[in-house]
Amino acid sequence: MKWVTPGQLRKQGVLGMNSRNIDYIGRNNDRSRYPLVDNKLKTKKAAVQHGMSVPALIGVVRIQHEIQALEKLLEGIEKFVIKPAQGSGGKGILVITERRGDTFIKSTGAALDYRDIKRHTSNILSGLYSLGGRPDVAMIEDMIDFDPMLGNYSHEGVPDIRVIIYRGFPMMAMMRCSTHASDGKANLHQGAVGVGIDIVTGHSLYAIQHNRKVEKHPDTGFRFDKLELPHWDEVLRLASGCFEMTELGYFGADIVLDRTKGPVMLELNARPGLAIQIANQVGLKKRLQLVDEMRPIERKVEERIRLAKQMFGVVLV
């Protein structure tokens, strides 16, 4: 039998899509706060105000005319990323890792000149990469120079850490590693590997690809059971701190580990997916209900993390 009964899922405390939408997103997330997370530029500005670590913003191109000023903007900058503020699924992100004069080298190794960069920016503005083709703005920000230790676990892309935050408590975490199959994107349903992370230690729990358990990365061959994320408490602090900033009750924070800066918040998601439960082999609902049962008083970030670790520590057998 490949299927389970609803009773079995309920016993495991698995959170379903309907329950997520009604009980958690619908009840805890105020619609008026959505633009803050849906627009990466707004997210970044708010994060800077709250003193959070984010990739530094080099500049913003809002109208086609401003593209002419790109050369001045990029003067002397070696590494950068151009991306749409409201892009979806990692589309339209151009990563420049090296610069030789007026020649730019993409992360894949291809060489571009100013004309290519201007065309890409123009495409972003006309909404080519945004959901539904809405006109957008282009953000230029510092390139993430990700922690070399994580390089073993990712193919052609930046591995990021998704932390689900409920009422400010870190509920569950997962590292998403891009694979050849996912085309360098960290989307689980496109074939990226999801690695469940223990909230207490930052140690890996399980790894899944296409909803099935895997032992090692399909491209690099590194085993996931050796993985232990550095700066783990810092990651939790950064992710949980987004609660004060967004005022959203239920969201996912995407964090990457930079070689020099440490944990950096990349973006937020007001409708985080449910696959994280499979990567952790634990249902979310039980944890959410534990938080619901707590007295609704204001707590500091450190306090919330301490309580979460107490409640959600997973002991590996």
């Binding site: 490949k2 299927w3 389970v4 009964t5 609803p6 079995q8 899922l9 309920r10 016993k11 495991q12 698995v14 379903g16 899509m17 309907n18 329950s19 009604i22 009980d23 009840r27 979806s88 699924g89 589309k91 495409n123 006309s126 909404g127 080519l128 539904g132 083709g133 349903h189 496109q190 909803n211 099935r212 358990k213 439960q277 499979i278 082999q281 634990v282 249902g283």
Partner: protein, 509 residues
Amino acid sequence: MKISSRLQIGLVAGILIAIGLGLTLYKKIELGFPLLPGQRQAVWTLESKVSFKPIGGPIEISLALPDPQAGWVVLDDHFASSGFNFSVQELQGDRRARWTRQSLERTTTLHYKLEVYRSDIYDLGGSAVPDIVLPELTQDRLAAMEGMVALLREQSSGSESFTALLLQQLVREQMDQDAAFLFGSREESKLAVVMDVLAFAGIPSQTVKGIFLEDGRRRQKMDTLIEIYDGDRWHLFDPGNAQPGLPENFFVWQRGAKSVLDVVGGESSQLEFAIVKNTLPIKTVLFMEQQVKERLLLDFSIYSLPVEQQGVFKGLLLIPVGALVVVLLRILVGIRTSGTFMPILIALAFIQTTLLTGLVIFLMVVGVGLWIRFYLTYLNLLLVARITAVVIVVILLMAALSIISYKLGFDQLLTVTFLPTIILAWTIERMSILWEEEGGHEVLIQGGGSLFAAILAYLLMSVDLVEHLTFNFPELMISLLGVVLLLGKYTGYRLVELYRFRDLGRPDE
């Protein structure tokens, strides 16, 4: 807060469901509305057109109205009489429509539309026996007539077989000499000659005017049957094929020698009929018509609307049923569809095209459309221009499909026009974006999900009972609203999640 919101929804939904079911039960028990659609019957819509050319001066047109017999029943009739004084008069048991007007300049057409169906099949009843009026004949015709009557009398055993033999002369390739002489006359129609022969032989006879009903006829003329009285009862014959009895598809308009159409003040008058056949659950229709007239309450029902609007509502009232299917599939099953209402619109189109044809057309148009849309991607157009381009391409595709299929003789594909163009264009646009962003796999999942939902909605919407209930008990929609409200608060697992989280449910394995 949590409980009260839930309770509120439950209460509102419960009340809504109760109202809907209550009204339905009231209509069923107190008013006797049939809950089941009952048998479908062919209902013919006859549109009579009286056209004429005015010759100046006052105009008076008088049209005999049908007196339904032999099991035919008139459901409904309408007159169109723009600019004319109109009245229906009853003279000696005959109903005649009268249009009058002081003057008129151009050729005009008057309309009289009626809906009829045959509730029972039986022959024409009795009728007053007309006097026999002997024809006035020239010497040579008299001789021919005498010869023919004598011959027919010899061959026949009575009035009935006499008439049958006489009419067979008409349909025969080679007539007898006498018959050929009589029927060969230019002045008189063959029918008039037949009547003369019958009168000469002393057989009382009369004409029966009416229409042979054939679906889709546009310029049908009135036909005439011949009826004779053998001293005991009437016998009917079709002079066209000499067959006795009333043809099943013959709608009797008038019996006897009176005129059907009189035009004063006009010339070149014509009476033509356009005929359309519909299949309807006749008992229900009848019941409703009768109820609407009798009960004030029902005067505010859909049945009080003109026929065209009723038709529109028939389609509109099915939409909630399709929507319910989509809601169930998305919330309870977890099937992903591209666009919430696309499946419903596709299902509505399927009702017009029939399922298989609709599917073939849909897949062809979307397939080719996607292929062209990929080319448009390279052109890098703005959204509105791109969608417009896709709309134009879709219409071109539909035209091409129609023309090619027509030339090849696949008439079914002509129904392509029923597919909603704009929806198709949006579907193509959505699918292509999905393809770029999520890959072809996701397109297959969502496209397949949409088609599955559309087919399911179609199957449900084309059930007779569903159509009957939605149309005759629109208050059931209130109950449906309640059910949808409840579904909107469903927080349980979706069917697909039972598969998706299959490894989570059994941690021990």
